[in-house]
Symmetry: C2
Subunit: 250 residues, 2 copies
């Protein structure tokens, strides 16, 4: 029997530090777990520093050793580094990419702009929606949840391997792209049911409780809404984003 669980204590400490935004920023690294999620990053040949896996995973995934550093760990060790209640057989340390804003793409395709989406689960779900509808860029205001928070990664189901999230001041972004339409989602506005498909511009989604910041209002070119038929006060931010994307992309 081989000796298993060779990751050093100091490396374990490094991995655990990546559960905090501060250290993710410092090291430009994040962790992702779960077979399906990790598989998505592998399929996209995403930059990965190291993969830590149980023997049960490495046995089935020999081929990835050609592309990536794979290290076997014991179940006990995996439980110590996992962020999940039930640890998964594989955990990767990914490199946080620095996506440049592509001027041509940003003016010619649909993007999402998120103003203070504070729940990591909502943010991850929105990234997954972007991936479903082929939206390449998700611009996040600085007070959004961190795109590389383990909960965001989990909710995005691996879509962060494809969708480009860019943290920036949205006021500055909209000023730079002043010729591009900004569709702000509100409780009242033009019905998205009455609009034709939309090919380009920013779909701006506001904070879960407070909506869109007042500093962004001057940049909005179209106030849009998902018409309410019943009585709920509002829709979940990710659901609203999904509905607008579907109607625009139909």
């Amino acid at each position: 029997m081989r000796f298993r669980g060779m990751v050093s204590k100091s490396f374990e400490k490094y991995i655990n530090s990546l559960k905090q935004k501060k250290y993710r920023r410092q090291y430009h690294r994040f962790i992702a777990e779960g077979e399906k999620t990790v598989q998505e990053f592998l399929n996209e040949r995403f930059p990965i520093e190291k993969i830590l896996a149980l023997p049960s995973w490495t046995e089935k995934n020999e081929r990835w050793k050609r592309f990536y550093k794979v290290e076997e760990v014991s179940e006990t060790q995996m439980e110590r580094i996992s962020t999940l209640v039930t640890s998964s057989p594989v955990l990767m340390i990914g490199e946080i990419p620095e996506y440049k804003i592509d001027k041509k793409k940003t003016t010619s395709q649909l993007s999402l702009a998120l103003d203070g989406i504070s729940d990591p689960g909502n943010l991850g779900t929105i990234v997954r929606i972007a991936d479903w509808f082929g939206i390449e860029y998700v611009f996040c205001s600085e007070d959004c949840a961190d795109a590389y928070n383990p909960k965001t990664i989990q909710a995005s189901m691996g879509s962060l391997a494809r969708v480009k999230t860019v943290e920036c001041r949205l006021e500055g972004l909209f000023a730079e792209f002043s010729e591009t339409a900004v569709f702000g989602t509100f409780l009242e506005g033009e019905s998205i049911f009455e609009m034709g498909p939309v090919q380009e511009g920013f779909i701006l989604i506001g904070n879960e409780a407070h909506g869109i910041s007042s500093t962004l209002l001057p940049h909005i070119t179209h106030r849009i809404t998902v018409p309410k038929i019943g009585k709920a006060e509002s829709l979940n931010a990710a659901v609203a984003a999904g509905i607008v994307c579907a109607l625009f992309k139909r």
Copy 2:
């Protein structure tokens, strides 16, 4: 200064027991918290056994004492009974209603049918979507999360005060309403973008990981899908429900 925090230890124990489904079923009671959520139940004159509130809440809400039993509690006591990380100024004990299936309504309007939606947050978000689009009934298979789970209540944002959730065997429901259309959501099927608005029938949403149960397949009259443009493997169940409702109700 008045003596505050008069709820007995045994009553506190009773409230805490309602955090478990077993006791919610036994007593036909559930708890809801948060000013906004409780307000929705009050506005609908929902049957409530008792409201427990901090003095800060009761002072502003004198008028509800005409309709409901309101008891003041101390902050310490509220913290002990709350299910939230930061306790809210008000908590209510609601009566779980037993909604009868209305034959005429079920055949003449759109309803949601949920097959094993296991995440309480997803279930609550779907109830909120139903409320937004004026959908009266949400039928839940017996292996769905409990509609009165505190996490479901929180995610539904008070919409459970209006939307009627009915737990039942979906096979039996569809057999009983064999003349009514069942729109099953799949990864492949007829594009909802190509369909006109739909006025009646069941929108069937499957489990987050496994989709729709095989035992329900014979009952499905229309296989529908939200067309995928990008690469995500799937959409979040609540987001898919929201998109289908929007397209059907547009």
